[in-house]
């Protein structure tokens, strides 16, 4: 609502460059596109640093989306714990904060939102590649918010990584581990 979007959902996924945060957002956006007429995916990253802060804002709605810039999302997904800082206060009351637990030296302070701390990197390493942490978190997000049916996301994953079997099964596995973590 605060973005001027009347009927829809806004989420910010944040992390550091090169770790798949933009791709996770894009998979989400493309999945949303099968259900909503209006979808915006807005990536953002820094100039100077390889591996600097980076985020994707995804909005979807059944009505036209005015602002692609989202100040108060319903959810934030934080893949690099240092990024929590700037985002914590921005989530709408009643919203969701999902955050990578590795390196997170503190608790989330907000008590008016649902919070989930996720060992996404560890889970991804377990599956075989730390790079899949993004899909673990995407799974948690979908599992927790149910903004979209998981199958829609899964089929986007299939579409996106279909060309490479290893990568595909890795990402699939990561996503379903995320879903499971959400329901646990």
């Amino acid at each position: 609502m605060t973005s001027g979007n009347n009927r829809g959902h806004d989420v910010i996924m944040a992390g550091i460059g090169g770790r798949g945060v933009l791709v996770a957002g894009l998979v989400l956006a493309q999945a949303a596109l099968t259900r909503f007429d209006h979808v915006v995916w807005l990536p953002s990253m820094t100039t100077a640093m390889r591996g600097g802060p980076c985020e994707a804002a995804v909005s979807f709605s059944s009505e036209p989306i005015a602002s692609p810039l989202v100040w108060r999302p319903q959810a934030v997904v934080v893949m690099e714990s240092s990024q929590l800082q700037g985002l914590e206060d921005r989530v709408q009351p009643g919203g969701v904060i999902i955050v990578e637990e590795a390196g997170l030296g503190r608790k989330v302070k907000r008590d008016d939102v649902r919070v989930m701390m996720v060992p996404a990197i560890a889970t991804a390493v377990e599956i075989g590649d730390s790079q899949a942490a993004n899909m673990v978190l995407l799974g948690v997000y979908i599992g927790l918010t149910r903004v979209l049916p998981p199958e829609l996301v899964e089929s986007q994953i299939a579409g996106k990584f279909g060309g490479n079997d290893r990568v595909l099964s890795l990402n699939r596995a990561a996503f379903s581990r995320g879903l499971k973590l959400a329901s646990s």
């Binding site: 609502m1 605060t2 973005s3 001027g4 979007n5 009347n6 894009l26 956006a29 493309q30 596109l33 007429d37 209006h38 979808v39 915006v40 995916w41 807005l42 990536p43 953002s44 990253m45 820094t46 100039t47 802060p53 985020e55 005015a66 602002s67 692609p68 810039l69 989202v70 100040w71 108060r72 700037g86």
Partner: protein, 364 residues
Amino acid sequence: MEEKLFVQGNEAVGWGAVAAECEAFFGYPITPQNEITEWFAREFPARGKVFVQSQSETGSINMVHGASACGVRTMTSTSGPGWGLMQEGMSNLANSELPCVIVLVQRGGPGAGTTRHAQMDYMTTTHGGGAGGYKNIVLAPASVQETYDLVQTAFHLADKYRNPVIVLSDAILGQMAEPLERRLLEFDPLPHKDWAVTGRGRHSDGKRRSISIGQGFMPNPTYPTYLSFMEGLDVKFRRMKEAEIRYETYLTEDADLILVAYGSIARVSQGAVNMARAAGLKVGLVRLITLWPFPYEAIRGLAGDAVRFLVVEDSLGQMVEDVNSAVAERSPVHFLGMLARHEPREMGMIFPDRVLEEIKRVTS
């Protein structure tokens, strides 16, 4: 052409160029427009069209010069520093009366600045640029779809006036993805490019053709003297001013505060207007589509004792000068610029909520 895509604004540029039957693209990498160059590298050769990665933006604009002289539709794209390098070329294209499209994806300046969003190239595209006081239409889309549409419009206007046309995008618009419907726009028919330099053998009258950056000092049948050339340009620029102003109003009828914005910030402003209306405030928006020609009359028409203006622009204040000039003291004009970004690093942005805050401040 019913296909619906989900693409970035930068990719929509490519699709728009295909729709406009652009035949040749010349470009040099620069963030945040790389997806444009890469799109053309991928898609143009496959369609039998020309893609050349130039050695620099000066190279791009001069290759565009050559290709345009052939009579085909041609374009380039760039950002910040690359735009600076095209200024001699822009001036030459204007002298040569060569149509072409330049997509400028704005980033933060000056200098290398940042590769992130900003709207700091209003003045250089509308008032300044290279030497010699030429003018060019500047189209400012505010969505992925409109980027696609305005690229088509830009090619039409370029040919119509034999003058370069700028599509002014920005890093937000260029990088964000939205659904895109690939519809072909319809335009009035244009005359055959009889002036094109194609080799003497292809001209119906058997007479050779020439295109020169020296119109005015090298006499030609159209412009035997410098002053006749100046008169020609003057008439042309006036025609553009009269015929090509484009803007959109949103809830301005009953508004006592009218926002003025363009590009991605017009979207942000629209979000703020929606929030303000929800809060019962009578706020509207003028969204500029052509930055040049500027809708002076339209804005002046909206001005008056009962109305205030708030210019929202992700810069230190550029378009606000033209709004001031249009309003001519008939209404107060307020300004919300880049210093209102939410945080000091380059990823700082002007959010709708901040605009709303300013709306409240101004109206209270």
